[in-house]
């Protein structure tokens, strides 16, 4: 009897966490971004965006895990599953939105990084235009600084998205304990 009560309590806690963890993670990520932005008084560096998306992804994956645990408990007990289904679906929708945004951001940041290789001459040279000679940009060689500051964070964003999608679907597909 005590075991049953504690199992029910755990399932209710999981249900609550399934609803709240993604939202809490979202707020934590936004507040962190604001704090860093206010402290540095600059636009957020791409590595900060990586951190923000990582926190969001962890929140959605954990939310899915808790919601699925609550759903499986209800399924095994034959209880009503409306709220647990709702929590699972909420996390699925959030996961789809989050992963789409991260993938698009990754591709966009990579394209921006490539375009930064094109360097236009400074204004002191543009006087040549008046003499009929077009301004020619130069393509800077690929450097390790570019790699670490621009390309690696964009690639890490994509890796976070891929790992997040994998974990989301794996957690969502977790079977009830007696069927594993």
């Amino acid at each position: 009897m005590a075991k049953s009560v504690s199992a029910t309590t755990a399932a209710q806690r999981n249900l609550g966490l399934g609803f709240s963890v993604p939202i809490v993670a979202g707020v934590v990520a936004l507040i962190l971004g604001l704090i860093i932005s206010d402290a540095t008084r600059t636009m957020l560096d791409i590595w900060i965006w990586v951190l923000i998306h990582l926190i969001l992804g962890v929140g959605v994956v954990l939310g899915t895990r808790f919601a699925t645990a609550s759903f499986n408990f209800g399924l095994a007990r034959g209880s009503k599953l409306g709220a647990a289904k709702g929590a699972r679906n909420l996390n699925l929708v959030l996961g789809i939105v989050w992963s789409s945004i991260v993938i698009i951001t990754s591709f966009t940041k990579a394209m921006e990084a490539v375009q930064r290789s094109v360097v236009w001459p400074d204004s002191s040279v543009t006087g040549a235009v008046k003499q009929g000679h077009p301004i020619k940009p130069t393509i800077e060689p690929f450097t390790s600084v570019q790699f670490w500051q621009s390309f690696l964070p964009a690639f890490v964003l994509l890796v976070i998205a891929c790992v997040g999608i994998f974990l989301l679907l794996s957690e969502r597909a977790r079977e009830p304990r007696d069927q594993e």
Binding site: I103, S106, F107, A110, M111, V114, Q115, S117, V118, P134, K136, P137, T138, I139, F142, F151, F155, L158, V159, C162, I165, F166, L169, S170, R172, A173, R174, E175, E180
Partner: protein
């Protein structure tokens, strides 16, 4: 969980990871294609559109290669998901592989139309404003061949993802009916 179940669970995770690995490869190829196109647009033939049109565009083939990798991984994931037991993971993998296939087909369609629209009605002109005929071999390589390869890729993905699956299902139903 017995060995067969453990093996199947591993296979499901491999099928889940394959399209994601394909996406990573696609990203790398797209970045390389962007770099390659920089040298066409801002290189020696900067501000000379007709010369750029008569230059071989490697970026077109790099994007196609990335798309092929993504397509291959998606159809392989779909094939792997066919042999899984009916579990939640199998349904998730099936659904995800189907989404991956659709994404490949959508991107390939956009790529094909984009290649067509960016080249079909473009003409190069010389300094006197007379139209210049493009180099035929380069035009074939930059426009016609990529469109053909793109169409071939789409047909391959569709056949592997849907037709092969339908044949396998019919065979299974036929065997069940005959006992």
């Amino acid at each position: 969980m017995n060995d067969a179940g453990g093996k199947r669970f591993g296979r499901g995770q491999v099928a889940l990871a394959l399209p994601l690995a394909g996406l990573l490869v696609f990203w790398v190829f797209v970045v390389l294609a962007q770099f390659s196109s920089l040298y066409v647009t801002y290189g020696a033939n900067y501000d000379n559109y007709s010369a750029q049109q008569n230059q071989f565009h490697l970026d077109i083939y790099l994007v196609l290669a990335g798309l092929a990798a993504l397509g291959f991984s998606a159809v392989t994931a779909r094939k792997l998901s066919q042999g899984l037991d009916e579990t939640r993971l199998a349904r998730a993998v099936n659904g995800f592989a189907l989404v991956a296939v659709f994404v490949v087909l959508i991107i390939a369609t956009i790529y094909g139309f984009g290649t067509f629209m960016s080249n079909a009605f473009q003409t190069s002109v010389d300094s006197n404003g007379h139209s210049i005929a493009p180099n035929l071999m380069v035009r074939v390589l930059n426009v016609y061949l990529p469109i053909l390869l793109d169409a071939a890729l789409m047909v391959f993905v569709i056949l592997k993802a849907f037709v092969g699956r339908a044949t396998a299902d019919e065979t299974t139903e036929g065997e069940s009916a005959n006992g």
